[in-house]
């Protein structure tokens, strides 16, 4: 039965049909599926399936990424308060767009997916100063700083990831906090993440969730 719900939910997400996806969740709960199972056996596998479809180049569009994250986020917000016990948090991250960058879609997709994976996300918003990224990461004991940049000059600029890396180095935080980047310039130049001093990059918001959880594991190891 769980498998059937997972398949119906995933189909609705791929059809970008939010109402149908939420209906599948409601039906699942009515049939006795627990809120924990809804999140971990339906929503998270659907995100992972989307990741697989992307990696196999099956033509998943930006709108489908957006809807997968949006629906996941809504379902998780609704389910977590109903959990029998508070879920175990996988890790903490801070996320924002690089200084001078006002494009927030990517980070919203990342945050939605990470929430479903039980990663606590502090969204610092748009046009974030490098010092703020680091200060907030320290204050929240975050394992990862995620920086989104959609423009070449904000991706490569001296007040983006480069400066975050420099501050982490100056403050001796490089082992404790990892840096992930994403956005169009990184897709067009897959080596750019190294140039700007990031530890990892992701091609899109959905796969960013996997990249970031891998970095969290690396820090916690």
């Amino acid at each position: 039965m769980l498998k059937q719900f997972m398949s119906e939910y995933n189909e609705a997400v791929m059809d970008t049909d939010r109402d149908r996806a939420l209906l599948v969740v409601r039906d699942a709960l009515d049939q006795g599926i627990s809120p924990e199972e809804v999140v971990f056996e339906i929503v998270v596998p659907a995100i992972e399936l989307t990741m697989t479809s992307i990696s196999e180049n099956q033509g998943v569009s930006l709108a489908q990424h957006f809807m997968a994250a949006q629906i996941a986020s809504e379902v998780v917000d609704d389910m977590v308060p109903r959990f029998a016990k508070a879920p175990e948090i996988v890790g903490q991250i801070v996320i924002g767009t690089a200084q001078g960058d006002f494009h927030g879609l990517g980070k919203r997709i990342v945050a939605g997916c990470l929430k479903a994976m039980m990663v606590e996300v502090a969204d610092l918003g748009l046009n974030v100063a490098p010092e703020l990224f680091v200060d907030e990461a320290v204050a929240r004991d975050a394992e990862v700083i995620a920086i989104s940049a959609m423009m070449v000059h904000t991706a490569r600029g001296e007040n983006g990831c480069r400066r975050v890396r420099q501050i982490l180095g100056e403050r001796g935080l490089e082992e404790r906090i990892k840096v992930a980047v994403g956005g169009a310039p990184f897709r067009f130049d897959p080596e750019l993440f190294r140039t700007v001093g990031a530890d990892a990059w992701a091609e899109n918001g959905i796969t960013a969730a996997r990249v970031i959880t891998d970095l969290i594991r690396e820090v916690r190891r």
């Binding site: 791929m14 059809d15 970008t16 939010r18 033509g59 569009s61 930006l62 709108a63 489908q64 957006f66 809807m67 949006q70 001078g100 960058d101 006002f102 494009h103 927030g104 879609l105 919203r108 423009m151 070449v152 000059h153 904000t154 490569r156 600029g157 169009a184 310039p185 067009f188 130049d189 750019l192 140039t195």
Partner: protein, 345 residues
């Protein structure tokens, strides 16, 4: 020697030419050319025209641009704040649509040509026409109705409305954006623009699922282009791929120029266009920042070898990042002229 306009016309018609046309989209570089900050530079249509003419002369490519920056359209629709950087294009600093109620309040100017926010572009177009008209195609950039809301309300809110919001509100906004497009394209044509780059990332299945493309993008593109027709219109989806919709675009819209994504397969693109139009092979210009001379030449050669056989092909760039060294711009162009030459024997 042929002019840029003659090369473009020859490429469209598939008639003999000395080489393929080469379009190099230098925008922010104009400020560097005139020794101005980007904010000073974009404040004047005369600056933009002067720099466009100088850069074309200096590098020898085949087009002239009237585009200042993409956010200009938001200014025509009420945005009063742009945020300038020192090394990249300005950002829209104030969303014209902040909530759904603003959609009803959105006013489309009756006469774009007399709108104060269009005055500098008009000056620029007049100068370009005077100096380069007929010799070099003058390019204008227009955002499709499906994409314009992303500039007016931010892409997050637009996707939210598009995918989950009330359909009547979505359609009200799209109708206004389509009305704006129709007026804008008429204003550009009247002011002398020859090439009208119709920018629509939402016309790519990288952005929206095929079902949405068929049910929404295509009908709204038909509405955009209906009154003015497709003369001079270039299908362009930003950097998004669109090989898989070429057939539908030809069939339903009748567009005849395709400015591919650097990620599109050029051979496949040409096969799909099948002689019914001009295919433009586009270089991944972000890589031009760091590539060596040999890498630049190898990539230009690859693109041209893929697209040149059989003609009806143009070599082009996206919006060239400010950080590309001048030497690499020259290397790319010299390679394009060299590999793009037709054997006249």
């Amino acid at each position: 020697m042929m002019t840029g306009m003659e090369r473009l016309v020859a490429a469209i018609n598939g008639t003999p030419a000395d080489r393929i046309p080469v379009f190099c989209n230098l925008l922010d570089q104009g400020a560097k050319e005139l020794g101005l900050s980007l904010e000073e530079y974009y404040a004047s249509g005369e600056h933009v025209a002067e720099a466009q003419l100088r850069m074309r002369e200096k590098y020898g490519y085949d087009c002239l641009w009237s585009l200042f920056y993409v956010g200009k359209e938001a200014e025509l629709l009420g945005c009063r704040k742009m945020i300038y950087a020192k090394d990249g294009p300005p950002n829209v600093g104030e969303m014209v649509i902040r909530n759904y109620d603003d959609i009803a309040r959105l006013q489309i100017p009756d006469d774009i040509a007399s709108h104060p926010a269009f005055a500098e572009e008009l000056k620029c177009l007049r100068m370009l026409k005077e100096e380069g008209g007929g010799k070099y195609p003058i390019c204008a950039y227009l955002t499709a109705s499906m994409t314009l809301p992303a500039i007016l309300m931010g892409i997050e809110k637009w996707l939210q409305l598009l995918m989950m919001g009330p359909a009547d509100l979505r359609d009200e906004l799209l109708a206004k954006c389509s009305d704006f497009f129709q007026k804008q394209v008429a204003a550009y044509r009247a002011a002398g623009a020859d090439v009208l780059v119709y920018s629509n990332p939402f016309g790519s299945t990288d952005f929206i699922p095929r079902k949405f493309f068929n049910e929404l993008s295509l009908p709204w593109m038909e509405r955009d282009l209906g009154p003015g027709g497709t003369t001079g219109i270039v299908y362009y989806c930003g950097s998004a791929r669109f090989n898989d919709v070429i057939e539908a675009v030809i069939d339903r819209l009748g567009i005849g120029v395709f400015y591919l994504s650097p990620m599109d397969d050029i051979v496949e693109g040409k096969r799909l266009v099948a002689g019914r139009g001009l295919t433009c092979g586009v270089i991944n210009d972000i890589m031009l920042i760091d590539w060596t001379r040999d890498q630049v030449r190898a990539e230009v050669k690859r693109i041209i070898e893929a697209g040149k056989p059989g003609g009806k092909f143009l070599f082009g760039t996206l919006v060239m990042p400010f950080a590309i060294p001048e030497e690499n711009i020259r290397t790319m162009l010299e390679a394009a002229y060299e590999f793009g030459r037709f054997d006249t024997k």
